[in-house]
Symmetry: C2
Subunit: 182 residues, 2 copies
């Protein structure tokens, strides 16, 4: 089964991209890991429900989502919500209506921030937004606070409880994506 990992940050030193790399290390062997790191290429969404001539970068994004049995999002928090760049990508993925690539797709959301709350509100907003696109939003969250201190020099989470939690989430993700992969 294939999991697509999507970081909502464009920063080269992104803590959320780091969180996804840590997740990859913890993922069950049955998971084939794919990392989407081309958010910056996705143009502004125009608001139309249909787009027979979607830009190439958008088609590529949709293809990667379609090829995945499940999607793991890691989101930073800007102004208490989802980065506009990530929301813009989700807006594109939510069309064409109603047969978009997220419909029925198992998705999970985690997040990291340098503040005290670990992108908790951005995660909550992203779960709600993904649910409205038709995605199947899985229970479970992980809020990595003080993210600049959360990883060791090998890129692993320092906290044993967060490591255990992330392992649990990945197990749940693998279990949920099995039916689609069968």
């Amino acid at each position: 089964m294939r999991v697509l990992a999507v970081s909502g940050s464009l920063r080269p030193e992104s803590h959320n991209s780091q969180l996804l790399r840590a997740a990859r290390e913890l993922a069950p062997e049955a998971i084939e890991w794919d990392t989407y790191d081309a958010l910056i290429t996705i143009p502004p969404f125009h608001g139309e429900r249909d787009d027979p001539d979607a830009p190439e970068a958008v088609q590529h994004w949709r293809d990667r989502l379609a090829a995945a049995d499940a999607v793991l999002f890691a989101t930073p928090e800007y102004n208490g919500s989802v980065p506009g760049v990530l929301k813009n990508a989700v807006d594109w993925a939510s069309t064409p209506f109603p047969d978009n690539v997220l419909r029925g797709k198992p998705v999970m959301v985690v997040g990291a921030s340098t503040g005290a709350y670990g992108a908790m509100w951005a995660q909550a907003d992203l779960r709600r937004i993904l649910g409205i696109t038709g995605a199947r939003v899985l229970d479970g969250d992980l809020a990595v606070a003080r993210a600049h201190e959360a990883f060791d020099e090998d890129g692993r989470l320092r906290s044993a409880s967060q490591t255990e939690r992330l392992s649990e989430l990945l197990g749940a993700l693998a279990a949920e994506s099995l039916p689609a992969a069968a």
Copy 2:
């Protein structure tokens, strides 16, 4: 005093841009009206709190906000929230931290959608987000539902109560922006 009108939609036939044109017709004479329609030029926000070399389109956006005594946003709703494109622009406007151009700025949010709720949830999210940037979010909302039927051939709102409501909001906006203009 100057009000900057910002539509969150890129669509040429945008109902939210139409709503702002209707607002302009109803605005008190004391208001100098400025329309920002270059959202599509704003690049993806990178998540840094400071950016001494912000792209030209971002500097232009910030300059227009800075020159306004108040800002009127009209937002569509995509997947139950603010369009990614508009959130991305607000993310840029929220930096550099802490002296961003939105801090203390009176802002008001209205919205239109072709559905039954008039972008109510996107408006609520945008008000919350703008509050977190430091903007002074004014009370008052206007949710124009079934927006494709809401305007007459002259671009005016068909509903007398919505027209009255919009006039009230503009009066409140003008009153709030007076201290800054004085």
